[in-house]
Amino acid sequence: MSEIVSILETPIHIDYHFTAGLAQSRFLKGIAEGRFLGQRCPVCGKVYVPPRGSCPTDGVPTTDEVELSNTGTVTTYCVVNVPFQGQSIEIPYICAQILLDGANLAFMGLIQEVPADQVRMGMRVEAVWVPPAELGPTMASVKHFRPNGEPDAEYETFKEYL
């Protein structure tokens, strides 16, 4: 009887080329300049950031570009306490849905400069960018968001964006 094998390595390597498309490319070029660029639907008036180039409700191209504020509201969040392979941030850290002022779509962002047990829904935050020389067309240009000291937003103002 031969020696039994107990463990098998079955690595999977997937090699993509990601093409951002026109709308996201505009957005990422804005990020490289330290600006959040969204797009407004000409029918319903909603502002999408990051934009996908069309309105999912009305099915029309979103042609108007809108520059958004550097501040926003935490609509909902998760405190990450579980370590995993490849983790680049020390735990515990806070992953939040952030609704930029003037936007109608929340996106995920890291919250720092506040203890994990003090983050809350409605907390007002601002983006902290990497130094200008390090800005690039990548979300890594936004280091994180941090509380900006304003009073919490009323639930009614963000309840549609949880």
């Binding site: 094998v5 098998l8 390597h13 997937i14 951002a20 498309g21 490319s25």
Partner: protein, 153 residues
Amino acid sequence: MAEPADDVLRAPHFLDYTYTRSVGPVIGAFLGALREGRILGVRGTAGRVVVPPTEYDPITSEATGELVEVGPGGVVTTWAWAEHPQPDQPLDRPFAWALITLDGANTALLHVVDAGSANAMASGMRVQPRFRPEDDRRGHLLDIECFVPEGAS
């Protein structure tokens, strides 16, 4: 593939899943035997020999029994020609993916046949394994480098 317009950003994006799995006693024995240049099946319900071996009969779900040596030769039951091999596929030249019923087995094993050209492939053809040199074997299905038409070196 069409190149995107100049104002569209494009970047490489790599994903690696570094899976390691435990294989259990039956597949473990199969892989261990491959390292020795032998191919094992397992006797299942009604004496059917299942290759690669499983812990349970794939039809009746009953526990399987003794391990039995099969092959090394066998018959191609069906096949598909791969004219443009991808970087992580078993061979770097055109080859056939084939289901091969090894002598003594009742099920077919998926492997590759190095036949040179699709014209050399046929369902019903006999093939034999080409094992890697003993030093290169690692207890893996690709310890069989490929199958070749019977009579070829």
